[in-house]
Every structure is written in structure tokens, then in C-alpha cells.
Assembly symmetry: C3
Homo-oligomer: 118 residues x 3
Amino acid sequence: MEIKRINPSPRWSDATVFNGTAYFVEVADDPSVDMLGQIRQILTQAEDSLLTVKSNKSRLISVTIYVTDFANFDVLNREWEAWLPQGCAPSRACIKAELADPAYLAEIAFIAASDQDE
Amino acid sequence: MEIKRINPSPRWSDATVFNGTAYFVEVADDPSVDMLGQIRQILTQAEDSLLTVKSNKSRLISVTIYVTDFANFDVLNREWEAWLPQGCAPSRACIKAELADPAYLAEIAFIAASDQDE
Amino acid sequence: MEIKRINPSPRWSDATVFNGTAYFVEVADDPSVDMLGQIRQILTQAEDSLLTVKSNKSRLISVTIYVTDFANFDVLNREWEAWLPQGCAPSRACIKAELADPAYLAEIAFIAASDQDE
């Protein structure tokens, strides 16, 4: 069984798909903005990533959310819940962690169901 | 292939199952107690979650353990090892992280084999 | 479907394989050395782990990298990119976190494609 990789760079792939399961990680493309702006970017970027792996936001399996400050937790949750289709929430872990760029306020690792192999 | 979701809320599902693999995350339902109490709750809750996805604690594949203080590491490990059936330990990562509720002392993300699809 | 476990101890298995997907976590066997030494150990150990699950470093699906200090980020990335075969990078998350042994400077959780079941 082959691994499909979207935009492999020397450091990471934008997404990988194996055995019907897609893996991708998002941080805001423009981290100069506040949490609201970053979360909206991350969720929009995630929709694009889901499209590239023949999935969509109703097919999330698991997410791990890293935030740098729980003061941003309410914004995260409000945007997250508004974005998710009803009845389609994945399993979710959420922890506080510093991220590779101090401007990043959030990073989300997604696992989703994909029709890439079919 | 469909995703099965256990108790989907607007924010997360208690568990998801896809392609024979189950994903769920536990924090103590009652975080007013110490690490010993929280870990025991988490492991008991995990048994319930495993049951809902037609799995059990002998079928864990991978866990990621977040603890807020490594002073609690010995308690975690003692309870963890006492709980796991012999020869059935999953792959395990363990890191220190602050969690969404300051009362939480641990959060565990589980991946398990499931007979849900069969 | 069975889970295959490599060297199960009471606390963890060195690797698990389920449904063609392998999970394993590495920290440096000898953490007395600096980041360069630890990363090289981790990547060498990962090659051994990949071998035991009938995989190799061209078949990584996803990694989660925990570093204790982003001052070591450049060393990590240089070694990581030198180690990965071209065009084979996995999805990658990277966060800062304290690890179970204060001597550990990095911990990497790997998910890889495996031919173990075939």
C-alpha cells in the first residue's frame, strides 16, 4: 500500500494519506494576526488540505490542538464549534505548548478519513 | 468507509472509529482529586470508552500522555502498569504540558484496535 | 485483526503495528550528549525500529516532534532533512515540551507504513 504525499518538502509534507487516513498539520500562514485571525486561517487552510486529500470537514477523526495561551481558549472553541458541521466532531486533545515561531498562537494536527485511495 | 462517532458534541466526540481504529481522549471526570485519583478515573473511563468502541485494554495501539508535573510521574507509571494486561502495552509518548482546566493533572489520548466495523 | 507488538514491557512496547500502520516513540538511548548527538541517536534508533516493523525511512506518514528548547531547532531540522530521503517527508508537528527525563532534549513519535501484516 502506497503513501500519497501532498507537496513534500525536505522537512514535511503538507499532507499524507495512507490506507484511507489523511494526516496534516496547520499553523496560520500569516501569524501576524491575533488568535481569532489565526484560528480562522487554520480552519480555512484545513478545508483546503481536506480537499486535496479528497476529504472534508465532516470527516475528521482526531485532532490535537496546541495553544500557546489558554486565554485564547474561548476564541478557539467558538470558532471551532462554528466551523464544524453538526454531529461531526472528531476526538480532540488540547494542550498548552510553545510553538516553533513565537508568533504562532495555535497549531492543529488533524487526522481525517480520505477517499484518496478509492 | 464511514466514521463512527460516540456522543458527538459540538466540540468533540467521546470517541471515533474509522477503519478498525478507535481514537479517544480522557481527562478525569472529577478533577478535584489528586493524581492518584485522577489517573484511576482516567483509566476507568478509558475502559468504558474501549467498551463503547468494541475494544478493551488489551488492544491499545498508541497513547500520548500529558502530565502537568513530572512529580506525578511515579504515580502515573505505577497505576498505568497495574492497569495494563501483561504483554499488551501500546507505544507511548509522555510529555509535560499545561491542560485546559488548571485542575486537570493528566490527559491521555488513546488509539486502540476496534471491532466496531466488523 | 491482531496488533503486533515489538518488545512489550509493562509500560510500553518499542513499537506496535495494526492494519499496516506502525507506531513507535524514540528518545536518545544515551541522553548525556547534546542535541546533535541525541537527534542522531533518535534517527538511527528510528531506522532500527522501522526495520523491526518491516518499514523504512521512506515510509513515514506522520511525526510529532517534542523539543525542550527551540534553540535546538536548527540542529533538529538540519539532521532531520539530511536523514529523510528526498520526496518522502511525513506530516510533521513540532512543539516545545518538557520530557520525562530532564536530560532528554527531544522525543519523536512516529507513525509509519508497515508490511508487517503482509
